[in-house]
Every structure is written in structure tokens, then in C-alpha cells.
Symmetry: C2
Subunit: 237 residues, 2 copies
DNA sequence: GGCAAGTCAAATGTCTGACAATTTACCAAA
DNA sequence: TTTGGTAAATTGTCAGACATTTGACTTGCC
């Protein structure tokens, strides 16, 4: 385990220091997924602090999804193998927080989103499968409903683009991009789409599905650029 | 504050429930950046739990950089305005964790990294300033040193690409991409570059700086593709 | 032998009350 | 005016207790 004596932890706050020690043990591979940590009592002894302090440290790690705890006889704290779902959720909330707390303007956010997404359309063209197309077409059908609220339209838009990213068949990519898109959603929700705007977006979506079906990455890139410009126009009007 | 009585929290674990309540207050805007939360004693009264439990809840929030605490007379817990630096650090460690714990293979990681980066080179070409070019050229000079360890070479590579991304002039983009690149670094560090590989990478870097200086985004995209292929060849050899 | 119920032990979750450490505000004296 | 010291508020830490959960073990019955 960690019998190191780092100097950083003299800056008070034992619970943070201990959390960091255990964290390093996990990051360094000394503890691997599903390993069980010593019990709270043992940890309090080995680290020379009270159980309350150990618990605060463990809560910090739990908040980062580094460990999970289970009660009972065979319980304890276990190194948590973070799923893509977990990571995605955490990143999305992280992104949301960052964007709302720092008052990022919608132009910057849009620019970032479309730039990232543009980067993966070639992979999507290469690896897309039929069910991705089906999903996207289903969302387009929803988007055509003139009764749809702006918010629901936006949600469908997110779903459409998530399917596009998933089509790239790369989980790391899906995870990063989905989080980015979702983080920007609060901003996008503030947009009001006129019917003309919606029609323009839907036309582009339809063209994108066609290009994806035909596996023409270059065309997808161009369409993404159009979509970005269209969205920015909507935002600034 | 939150005098709601959500049903979810009957699933035991009061500290998580209370953390979630406060978290919602922050996310919903009831508490804004730099607001001071009630003291631990007050919170324990209003939520009807002990101070220890409140503290565990606060540690969870602190671990997510949602709050920061200060001791002393005017101390307390304050809603933390997460800086881009904070978010970047958190995302990078998140990415590292996900990739190491889930044994993502280097092909997938590389593919994702270059796909994302490719998406922002056009913006970089548009907004780059001279100091970006300077930084990149400096890194190229470092990379030419044949004494450089593989790890140092890789670190310089990360710095080079970070400068490229920064050139896009979009903080959201910088933040997302820098985190992604850094998260993948542990995997890249496992690569061993032969001198021939390094020369190839350096040539591409030089060409990229030229293209960036001339603001030719399309050429940058092509070079990125070459670089991706080159890196994958190195990885698979 | 096999099954069911009860018991026990280990571990996390929570509470209580205390003390330590830190920081600011305030007040008094030089 | 400045300096120093004291008090108060607040987080950080500790020790010990009890509650709750859960799996393993034991016992007794069929």
C-alpha cells in the first residue's frame, strides 16, 4: 500500500491527504478494480488517524466514483471499475457546471461542439451500421412534429447527434463527445427556433443521414459546417 | 434552501442524500458562486442529522470541486466557481482513470484523440497567433534532441498538440481536448519510438507549423491523418 | 443428507460530545 | 495611530458508542 510520506500533506486537512494517498495507490495500479480496501478501522490504524477522518477521505473517493462501499459482513470499500456510463455522467455534469458557472457564451460553446463533432464524422461514415441510421431517422421524424416544444426539439437534436457519434464505433469518442454535447444542452435550450430554423435543421439532418448511409465522410463534414452556421444564426437572431 | 423531501433518499446513506440536496441547490442556481453555505452546525440542524454526517456530505461536494472550505471566524463552505484549470484537471484524471481501469486499447485511444484534434485544426488555422507558432517550434526543437527519453518525447508531443489546440482560441475546446490528450498520455508513454519514428513525427510537426502559419486548415487536416497513421504504425510495431 | 430458522460476527452508517487549530473582529494600552 | 491581546466563530480531529446490514455459521428438524 502507501507507506510514503509526501510533503504536500503538511498543509493540514488529513482527510484530503489520506484520500490522495489511496487515490495514488489506485492510479498507480497498486490497487486494481474490485480490490477490497482495508476496513475503516484498519485504515484508521495504519494511517494513524481517527475513523471519522478515514470516512471523510473515503467519501471523497466515493464522490469521484473511485470506490464503492457495501455494508455487511463481506462489505467494505472496493475499487470501482468506472463504466463508460459513469464517466459520461460525471463528465456531462462537469461540463454543465463549468459552462453555467463561467457564463460561457453560446457562440463559443457551439463552435466547440461542432468542431469536436466534425472530427468524428469520417469515422462514423466508415463504421456506421444500419441501426444508427434507423435511430437518426426516428429522431428526424420526431423533429418534424410542429407541436414539439423548443426544449423537446433540442433533446431530439441531442439524441440525433449522439447516434451520429456512436456510429463512429469508438467508446472513448462517444463518451467525450456525448458529454460535451450534453453539457452544452442548457445553453441550447435557451434558443427559440422559428419554424424556418427548424426546417433548415431538419433538411440538414436528412442530408446527413443520406451521406452517412452512402459513407461519404467529406460530405458530412460540409454538412456539419452548414449546421454550425445555421445554429449560430438561430442563436444570434 | 432545500426543504424538499425527495423519496430517493430513503435508500439509506444520509450523507449522499444531503450532498445531493445541496448539489441541486447549486445546480439550480439557488446558490450561486461564492455564496456561503450555512455552517456545519446549522446544516446539521436544518437537515436533522449529526454534524459528522453533514461533514461527510460536504467532503463529497468538495471532492467534486463544487465547494471550497475555509477555517476561522469568517470561514465556512463556499460555492466554488470552477475554473477551466480545475475542470481540466478533473477531466484529465477522469479520462486517465477510465482508460486505465477499462483497459482501452491504444488503437481506440489514438483514434479518438486524433479525431477530436482534427476537428479543431480549421479553427486553429483561423485564430492562431504568433506565440502559438513559437511554442510549437520550441517543442519541435526539443523533440530533435536524440538524448530525449521516450517519456520526455511524449510529454513534448503533448505540449505541442496542446499549443495547437489552444490556437483555436476557444477555451471549451482547449479544455476538452487537453484533457483527452492528457488522459491518453499513460498509454502513449508505453510506446517506444525508434529514431525513424521520431523523425517521421518531427517532419509532420514541422509541416503542421508551416500550414498553421499559412492558415491552411485543409492541409492541417491531411497532416493530422498522416500523423494518426504514423502513430498507429509505431504502436503496432 | 438436506433444508430452514436462528444466531453471530464483521463491516459500514450514524450520533454525541469534546477538544484543537485557525482566522477575523474588537478592544485596550502604549 | 499602532500594537498587542483576547474572544468568538468555524472548520478539523478525535474517541467511543450504538444502529443497521449482510453473509457465514450453527443448530435442529424432517
Amino acid at each position: 500500500m502507501s507507506d510514503n510520506l509526501p510533503k504536500l500533506e503538511k498543509q493540514t486537512d488529513l482527510s484530503a491527504a489520506i484520500a490522495e494517498r489511496i487515490r495514488q495507490d489506485i492510479l498507480s495500479g497498486a490497487l486494481v478494480a474490485d480490490d477490497r480496501l482495508p476496513s475503516e478501522s484498519e485504515l484508521s490504524e495504519t494511517h494513524g488517524v481517527s475513523r471519522a477522518t478515514v470516512r471523510e477521505a473515503l467519501k471523497r473517493l466515493a464522490a469521484q466514483s473511485l470506490i464503492r462501499t457495501k455494508r455487511g459482513a463481506t462489505g467494505g470499500a472496493f475499487v470501482h471499475r468506472q463504466s463508460f456510463e459513469d464517466a459520461y455522467t460525471q463528465m456531462a455534469s462537469n461540463a454543465t457546471l463549468l459552462i453555467t458557472l463561467n457564463e460561457v457564451d453560446i457562440t463559443t460553446a457551439c463552435e466547440a461542439r461542432f468542431a469536436l463533432e466534425r472530427g468524428c464524422v469520417r469515422l462514423a461514415a466508415k463504421h456506421r451500421q444500419d441501426h444508427h441510421l434507423d435511430k437518426m431517422r426516428a429522431e428526424i421524424t420526431r423533429q418534424k412534429d410542429p407541436e414539439l416544444s423548443d426544449e423537446a426539439f433540442c433533446a431530439s437534436d441531442v439524441a440525433f447527434h449522439r447516434a451520429l457519434v456512436d456510429a463512429a464505433g469508438n467508446p472513448v469518442l462517444s463518451w467525450q463527445l456525448a458529454a460535451a454535447v450534453e453539457g452544452i444542452e442548457p445553453l441550447m435550450n435557451m434558443l427559440t427556433y422559428r419554424q424556418r430554423d427548424r426546417d433548415a435543421v431538419i433538411s440538414l439532418h436528412e442530408a446527413m443521414v443520406e451521406a452517412l448511409e452512402a459513407r461519404v465522410g467529406a460530405r458530412l463534414e460540409i454538412l456539419m459546417d452548414y449546421l454550425r452556421d445555421q445554429t449560430l444564426r438561430t442563436a444570434l437572431s
